[in-house]
């Protein structure tokens, strides 16, 4: 592996070669050419509010620390001592004055600068001045979301996001005052499958009726949602599970778009206004009134109308703004992936809305949930299928040839078009061969 010409042959208009998912050499190149170059979403500014506050994550396989280094700036540091390579921070989050390496006691300040070195007389002073925790070459935020790139060159974040900015705007605008914060714990789940399988699944309108058949069936036997003010705490999740069993006509009528960078987003596919809007729910009415006071009735209605559903930012983020759920994927190996799932609280909205977010997270996106577990099972079965060389190709042709060009994006002919997978694969080819 692999000349660019060979790589280019792996992706064709309506099919993808299995090695894209199963070949460790392709995976190594992906880490270099995709995760080593693209803007990756790392989290949200609310995770690093006070100076010294930090969290750890990965950019691809690179361990990084995101830390508030002072009132104004965030630093994103490779979590590895410049001396002998030990990780300097192993906690998931906290607040720290200095990172102290456990091996020889080298310490670094919040910006990654080397502060103190025991046995300093043994080193050349000039050399020590060069050594520090490496800062990630590029970092930027968009409306509170933190992004970084491991490459010093490339387009800026705004250009990278393109039309997908509208999905992040939708996420933030729904919060009164634009005030969002990560809260309620982080689910960390893993599966024995390629990282791309998750991104391809989250916009796939043809899968819920099959993958999620058991949770659809079970949710239909659940108690009916309580009357306004008397809801069960899990009603929001039961509604979502039922909606996964919506008839084909509903899925086909949904919008699905892909952008040149491989991002994608779905339009609304819900026929049950209460699922999202909670119309008649006193807490929702209060929330709506807060938005109306801030923006006026007309704009408040426009914000609350659901026009964007699941969004994928290629290659590492997936979110649902109505439920305030964000998932970030970390490729570990060609057949192993880790996903961090974050919930967001709207700081100026009634408490009940955050409880809905938590209930949704537990029942739909959680590690032992009714819904996610079946997705993970299917990812693992796909990975096992692709391990076989008896069949070389996977088919991605649903709706091919009927895609509709729109300004800045391509729309699938119907809601279940695989246009978004073809878009992701075009982006994959761009990263891998250019």
């Amino acid at each position: 592996m692999a000349a660019n010409e060979e790589l280019a042959m792996l992706v064709q208009p309506d099919r993808v070669h299995r090695s894209v998912y199963a070949d460790p050499a392709v995976f190594e190149l992906e880490m270099e050419r995709i995760f080593g170059r693209a803007w990756l979403m790392l989290g949200h500014e609310s995770q690093v509010k006070a100076p010294g506050e930090y969290f750890t994550t990965r950019m691809g396989r690179e361990p990084v620390v995101v830390i508030r280094k002072n009132e104004k700036e965030i630093a994103i540091l490779i979590n590895r001592c410049a001396h002998r390579g030990s990780m300097v921070c192993t906690e998931g989050r906290g607040n720290i004055e200095r990172f102290v390496c456990p091996y020889h006691g080298w310490s670094y300040d919040r910006a990654g600068a080397l502060q103190a070195v025991p046995f300093a007389s043994g080193y050349e002073k000039e050399k020590l001045r060069e050594l520090r925790l490496k800062a990630v070459p590029r970092a930027a935020t968009y409306r509170g979301f933190i992004f970084a790139s491991l490459s010093p060159q490339g387009e800026d974040l705004q250009a990278f996001l393109g039309p997908a900015r509208a999905s992040l705007d939708d996420f933030v605008d729904r919060a009164p005052g634009g005030e969002l914060e990560v809260a309620g714990g982080v689910f960390k789940h893993a599966y024995n499958g390629n990282w791309k399988l998750m991104l391809e699944n989250h916009l796939d309108g043809a899968h819920p009726a099959w993958v999620h058949a058991s949770s659809v069936a079970v949710a239909r036997t659940a108690p009916e949602p309580g009357r306004p003010g008397e809801e069960h705490y899990y009603d929001i999740a039961v509604r979502q599970m039922r909606q996964n069993g919506a008839p084909e006509s509903v899925w086909e009528a949904t919008g699905i778009w892909t952008t040149p960078r491989g991002h994608g987003y779905m339009g609304d596919y819900h026929d049950d206004a209460r699922l999202v809007a909670g119309l008649g729910n006193p807490a929702f009415e209060e929330y709506r009134a807060i938005l109306a006071r801030e923006h006026g009735e007309e704009k408040a209605d426009r914000i609350l109308r659901v026009t964007l559903w699941n969004t994928i930012l290629y290659p590492n983020a997936s979110f649902m703004s109505q439920f305030r759920q964000l998932r970030l994927i970390q490729p570990i190996a060609v057949d192993r992936s880790v996903v961090y799932t974050y919930s967001f609280r709207m700081k100026n909205a009634p408490a009940r809305l955050f409880r809905d977010t938590i209930a949704f997270s537990n029942v739909v996106n959680g590690t032992a949930s009714w819904v996610l577990t079946d997705d993970l099972e299917v990812y693992e079965r796909i990975q096992r299928g692709f391990a076989s060389g008896a069949m070389e190709w996977a088919y991605i042709g649903r709706g091919a040839g009927r895609d509709v060009a729109e300004p800045g994006a391509t729309r699938g002919a119907t809601g279940t078009s695989e246009v978004f997978i073809r878009g992701q694969m075009r982006a994959w080819l761009d990263y891998m061969t250019k």
Binding site: G184, G185, H189, W210, S214, F354, N362, T373, E377
Partner: protein, 151 residues
């Protein structure tokens, strides 16, 4: 029936896949909680690996029986090894703490879970019913593959 015998019986029901009988061990107002965070205090403001009332617990068992429950069928084989049982009498309830080692086999994959467990048991007709069960997995905050077993 002693507290010990009751916990062993509960484990036996799970390991012999008699989930519907296991459900009947719970009171109507029972809660079954597997927190996400260590020392988690609250189940409504912080996510949980499992936070079920009796209704959700019934739905969980129903899903396991569904023919297209891909992550659950065929059912995992399990061994629930219960130990370190200590009981403390309270007002109308017995608080029982124990440890759990759970071996699961499914899809050519064997997994081991470890947990600190707390039961709150109510005496009913000479036996016990579970009013509350809390299972704190030692790796609840770790990177976990999908979980479909019942603890």
């Amino acid at each position: 029936m002693t507290v010990e015998q009751f916990l062993y019986y509960e484990a036996r029901l799970l390991d012999t896949q008699r989930y519907e009988e296991w459900l009947e061990l719970f009171t109507d107002d029972a809660t079954y909680w597997v927190p996400l965070e260590q020392n988690q205090k609250d189940a409504f403001e912080t996510s949980s690996i499992i936070h079920d009332d009796r209704t959700l617990l019934e739905l969980r068992v129903k899903q396991a029986r569904h023919p297209r429950a891909h992550a659950r069928q065929p059912l995992a084989r399990t061994v629930h090894q219960v130990g370190n049982i200590m009981a403390e009498e309270g007002a109308g309830e017995v608080k029982v703490t124990s440890t759990l080692q759970l071996v699961e086999f499914r899809n050519e994959k064997q997994r081991l879970y470890g947990a600190l467990v707390e039961h709150r048991l109510r005496r009913v007709n000479g036996g016990f019913r579970i009013a509350h069960k809390r299972v704190d997995l030692v790796n609840s905050e770790g990177e976990l593959d999908g979980i479909t077993v019942l603890f």
